[in-house]
């Protein structure tokens, strides 16, 4: 064997171990029957999963996460798609590149900085401690993912298809809805899934703008770690991981079908 493939193999294994190791290590604990979060596992039970749906605080946080996640997905997909359409195919001018950077900025700005700013601003408009406030905050960080996904999908839409549609009698809005968007749909859907995942995962902004009523699953896990390290956290994590895997598979399936 030549050295390069071996190096690749070793490197790849390390990457996989680092990425998946912690998950594999912690997941079995979600099935423990003890109240402590440590090995060895004395016995197996599903009590911590039951806890997730029975305990008021956990149940509420799951409902909140789904609610806020859905709201964020709708809003971010709408805005991100509009932005991608607006920025599409434009010559590299100062205005366009500035706008693009502004849209992508939330990806790189530290969440703490964003959070402080939002808290101050939301307070002014009475948006702190509201669902709408949390959804807006999450949307800010989710839009870049939609923009990136939809932009690359739109790049794959041949302008000649749109010209063909126009020459066949389609007015610009019809071209958009019957040709451009359907062809870019896989990108829009994966953007939407990214937006949902981003919202589920978000903690920092939530800490700043959400009140006790908008406690999300991620936030609840965060709080539980500080208060009492219960295995319910790991159960919640397991739910997260399974959810994420399902989402990714859905994304793959959609791409496959549309390709």
């Amino acid at each position: 064997m030549r050295p390069l493939p071996i190096i690749k193999l070793i490197f790849a294994s390390f990457v996989v171990i680092f990425l998946l190791g912690p998950l594999v290590a912690v997941l079995p604990l979600s099935l423990t029957d003890s109240v402590f979060l440590n090995y060895p596992i004395s016995g197996y039970s599903t009590r911590w999963f039951k806890e997730l749906v029975t305990a008021e605080s956990w149940r509420l946080s799951i409902v909140n996460s789904l609610l806020i996640g859905s709201g964020t997905t709708v809003l971010a997909t709408l805005l991100g798609t509009l932005a991608a359409l607006g920025l599409r195919g434009k010559r590299a001018s100062l205005l366009v590149s500035t706008l693009r950077t502004v849209f992508l900025l939330p990806m790189v700005v530290p969440a703490v900085v964003l959070g402080v700013g939002m808290q101050l601003m939301f307070a002014r408009y009475g948006l702190t401690n509201t669902y709408l406030g949390v959804i807006i905050a999450h949307t800010v960080v989710a839009v870049p993912f939609v923009l990136v996904n939809v932009s690359s999908a739109l790049q794959g839409v041949d302008v000649r298809l749109e010209q063909a549609a126009a020459s066949l009698g389609a007015a610009p809005p019809t071209v958009l809805f019957s040709v451009t968007l359907p062809i870019a749909l896989p990108g829009i859907i994966s953007g939407a899934l990214f937006a949902f995942a981003t919202s589920l995962d978000e903690v920092v902004l939530t800490l700043f703008v959400a009140g006790p009523n908008q406690r999300t699953l991620a936030r609840q896990m965060f709080a539980t770690i500080r208060e009492n390290i219960s295995p319910a956290i790991v159960s919640a994590a397991a739910v997260f991981i399974v959810g994420t895997i399902v989402l990714s598979l859905a994304m793959l399936a959609i791409r496959r079908r549309m390709a």
Binding site: L161, Q163, S167, A170
Partner: protein, 364 residues
Amino acid sequence: MDSPFISFRQVVKRFGPLTVVDHLDLDITRGEFIALLGPSGSGKTTLLMMLAGFEQATSGSIEVGGVRVDGLPPHKRNMGVVFQNYALFPHMSVRDNIAFPLKMRNTPKAEIATRVARVLDMVKLSAMAERKPAQLSGGQQQRVALARALVFEPQVVLMDEPLGALDKKLREQMQLDIRDLHRRLGLTIVFVTHDQDEALTMSDRIAVFNHGRIEQIGTPREIYELPRTPFVAEFIGETNLLSCKVEEQAGETVRLTTDGGLTLSAHAGAAGIDGGKVRVSIRPEAIRINDHAAATANRLTARILDAVYFGDHMRLVASVGEQRLIIKGDRTSEAAEVGREVALSFAASDVWVVGSCDQTSATA
């Protein structure tokens, strides 16, 4: 001729500093099949895009049926466009692709169904109606594109190198099909190509483009046999282009001396002679080998330098002194042997003056 159906008047198109279409005038008659032929980058697609409404002319006017269309958006121009890459909607079935222009015109459902069925039948794709474009071969996709551009009975059909991606056999079949449709439906077709054979065999008239201008426009026969410029002579078919000095002129016939030192009788050509130095074109197939019976004005002795077998003919390269000539020879020709000495003969009318030398440098 009738009054023109489509007319370009002094149309200019610039992209920044680049002039792509340069003060172009072109008239197209209703029902005509016109080919726009020219090298890459000569502005053919740009002209088509201006006609379809995807590009705006920098200046000049374009009229269709006596109405200026310059300000009209593409979806109101009622022109069928067939793109080089077909531009079929990948997310729609063949049927939906073809029904698209009818839906845009709010045609009743039942009528859409019958018209789509008819056109599918015409392009022999009825069995493929439910397939997606990706499940079709290149030739089938091409036919769908054609069907889609024809189903709404547009006043003009524009085609931009529609057969470029097809193999030779299929291309020839499609050429016949399109030609046939043109005759049967009386369509006006503007057909962009850079394949000279395609232009020659399909069109009523050919417009030869070069640098955003039309070098010559005429029937295929005029373009091939009576070229006005060296560019046209060279672009359509193969030819021998020779620079000559004019010795004397008597009506249509001129005596010339080539730069290689040959004396030739020539025809004054379509463009006429102005200046003492001209270029002439001699088609390879006009030169006869060892034909002593023919009474022709030009007789030369040459030596064969190269012979290549092409199946239906031999392509020979002969030298007469310094001058090289390409000859299309008989495939059984015994002369087709490298190193042989042969007698060449050709008529004065086959030595065709295609312009003066100064003109050449401007268009080359």
